[in-house]
C-alpha cells in the first residue's frame, strides 16, 4: 500500500485507488473536473517517487520530465510526496466576459478577452473556473489571428453546476479565471492536400468550427467534410454560417445530421447519426486526417471504426467531452 505525502501529512493509498481519490477520501480538497486524465485540472508534481507513465499521458515532455502528473488517473506504484502544480505551469489567468448570446435553445456563445496575450490553437480547450472553485473544460471555437476574443459554446445542462451558472450568473463585463490552453485536437499545417473528416455531436462543433476555419485560413486545399450531429434539428446550430462557408469554398462539404426526424426537418438535414452518416458516405478513410469531438461514446466508437476503415492512428485527433459522474 503506497503512502502519499501531501503538505507534510502521510495518507495511505488503497489498492486500485488514485492519488485524487486517496486525498479526497481523507478530506483534502484537490481541484478536479473530468476525472479521466483529460483536462489537467488535477495537475500535481511528484517531489519524491515517480508517477506511473499512464498518469502523464498527454502532458508536455517538459512537464513529464519534471514528474508532473494527473492525480485523477495516478495509481501510485510506490510511495510519493506530491504538491499541487503552481500557477506558473497551470497558466491561470483572468479574462473579461465580452458577450453572451444564444446559438440555439440550449447552447450559449460566450466571448472572453484574456487580460494577457493568450497563445492557443483553434480547437484546444480551456478550463473555466467558477469563483467557488468548480472547474469545467470548454473548447475554443475561435481562430487566433482571425477572432479578437476567445469563443466558447456552452450547452446548458439541466442541473449542470457550471453551465447553469454561466446561463444565470455570468454576465458581460464580469471577470472570470481561465487556464490553458490544453489539448492536441487542432489543425497542423503541412500536407495541404490531405482530405479531412470532421465529426462532432452537440457542442462538439465548437472545436471543429475553430479547426475548420483555421484549416481554410491556412490554405488547406484537400476536401474537408464536416458531419455535425444532434438529437434533433433543434439541436443543430451555426447552420446558416456553415452553409455560407460551403458556398464560399469548393473543398468544404457540410452535412448536418439529426437522430430523429423532426416536424421542422429542414431540407438538407440527414436523418442519421453523424458518425454513421460519415462512415456511409466515406467507407475508405485510408490517408485521411480525422477529428472527432463531443459525446465520449461516439468519439471512442468512431475512432475505432475510422481506424478499421483505413485511417492511421496518428492521423486521428479526438476530443471526448468526458465528464465525471460524481461531479461536485
Amino acid at each position: 500500500m503506497p503512502v502519499i505525502t501531501y503538505d507534510k501529512q502521510p495518507y495511505a493509498c488503497e489498492d486500485g485507488e488514485t492519488v485524487l481519490q486517496c486525498l479526497t477520501r481523507h478530506g483534502v480538497a484537490i481541484p478536479s473536473s473530468c476525472e479521466s486524465g483529460v483536462c489537467q485540472t488535477c495537475l500535481m508534481r511528484g517531489v519524491q517517487g515517480r508517477p506511473p507513465a499512464a498518469a502523464q499521458q498527454g502532458l508536455k515532455d517538459t512537464l513529464q520530465a519534471q514528474h508532473y502528473f494527473m492525480a485523477c488517473v495516478c495509481e501510485p506504484g510506490e510511495d510519493m510526496e506530491v504538491v499541487l502544480a503552481g500557477a506558473d505551469v497551470t497558466h491561470l489567468l483572468e479574462a473579461e466576459v465580452m458577450a453572451k448570446s444564444a446559438l440555439n435553445d440550449d447552447i450559449l456563445r460566450i466571448l472572453l478577452k484574456p487580460a494577457q496575450p493568450f497563445d492557443y490553437k483553434a480547437g484546444q480547450f480551456i478550463n473555466l473556473y467558477r469563483p467557488d472553485g468548480v472547474v469545467r473544460s470548454y473548447s475554443l471555437a475561435s481562430v487566433p489571428r482571425q477572432d479578437e476574443c476567445l469563443e466558447l459554446h456552452v450547452r446548458v445542462l439541466p442541473g449542470g453546476n457550471m453551465s447553469t451558472w454561466v446561463r444565470d450568473e455570468m454576465h458581460p463585463g464580469d471577470t472570470v479565471a481561465i487556464e490553458g490552453p490544453v489539448g492536441d485536437c487542432f489543425y497542423v499545417p503541412g500536407r495541404p492536400e490531405q482530405p479531412i473528416l470532421l465529426v462532432g455531436t452537440g457542442t462538439g462543433l465548437a472545436p471543429l468550427w475553430g479547426v475548420l476555419r483555421d484549416a481554410l485560413a491556412q490554405g488547406h486545399r484537400g476536401q474537408i467534410h464536416l458531419f455535425h450531429g444532434s438529437y434533433s434539428t433543434a439541436g443543430l446550430y451555426l447552420v446558416d454560417e456553415l452553409r455560407a462557408l460551403e458556398e464560399a469554398h469548393d473543398n468544404f462539404i457540410y452535412t448536418p445530421c439529426a437522430d430523429e426526424p423532426g416536424d421542422d426537418m429542414n431540407a438538407g438535414v440527414t436523418c442519421e447519426r453523424a458518425d454513421l452518416a460519415a462512415l456511409a458516405a466515406l467507407p475508405d478513410l485510408k490517408s485521411w486526417r480525422i477529428y472527432l469531438c463531443g459525446h465520449p461514446d461516439m468519439v471512442d466508437v468512431m475512432k475505432k471504426k475510422a481506424f478499421l476503415a483505413g485511417a492511421s492512428l496518428s492521423d486521428i485527433y479526438t476530443d471526448p467531452f468526458v465528464y465525471s459522474m460524481t461531479s461536485s
Binding site: 499512464a54 499521458q57 471512442d300 475512432k303 475505432k304 481506424f307 478499421l308 483505413g310 492511421s312 492512428l313
Partner: protein
C-alpha cells in the same frame, strides 16, 4: 557478419509500418478481437509494437515468465491454441502485405510458436 532476422525485415521502421496493419487485422478478426477490447487504442497499439518487435527477433527483455504473467488473465478468459493460430495467421498476412519474403515470415512464425506454451500458461 550475418544480419539478424530483425535487420533483414527492416528493424524499427518495419515494426512501425506493420503495427497499424496488424492491429487493424486483429480488431477486424472476430476470432480474437474480444481479447483486445481496450478503450485506449494508443496503449493497445504500443503493446502490439512490443509483440511485433519480439516476433521479429528485435531487442526485448521478455522472458517466458513475462509471457505467462502477461497473458494469464486472458487464459482465464478462455485463451487457447486456436487464438494463437489466429494471431500467427494475422501476423503472416500483415508481413505478406508488406512484401516480406516467405522464408522470413516462416522465421517470424517460429519465434511466435516458441512461446506458445508460455502464452497459454502450460
Amino acid at each position: 557478419m550475418t544480419q539478424s532476422l530483425y535487420d533483414k525485415i527492416g528493424g524499427e521502421a518495419a515494426v512501425n509500418a506493420a503495427v497499424d496493419i496488424f492491429y487493424r487485422k486483429v480488431l477486424a478478426d472476430d476470432r480474437i478481437n474480444g481479447f483486445f477490447e481496450g478503450v485506449d487504442m494508443e496503449k493497445q497499439a504500443a503493446k502490439q509494437k512490443a509483440f511485433l518487435t519480439f516476433a521479429f527477433g528485435g531487442p526485448n527483455n521478455y522472458t517466458g515468465k513475462d509471457m505467462r504473467e502477461g497473458h494469464a488473465h486472458l487464459v482465464e478468459r478462455g485463451l487457447n491454441d486456436s487464438h494463437v493460430d489466429a494471431v500467427i495467421e494475422d501476423l503472416g498476412a500483415t508481413l505478406k502485405e508488406l512484401n516480406v519474403p516467405d522464408e522470413l515470415i516462416a522465421e517470424v512464425a517460429a519465434i511466435a510458436e516458441s512461446v506458445r506454451d508460455d502464452v497459454l500458461g502450460r
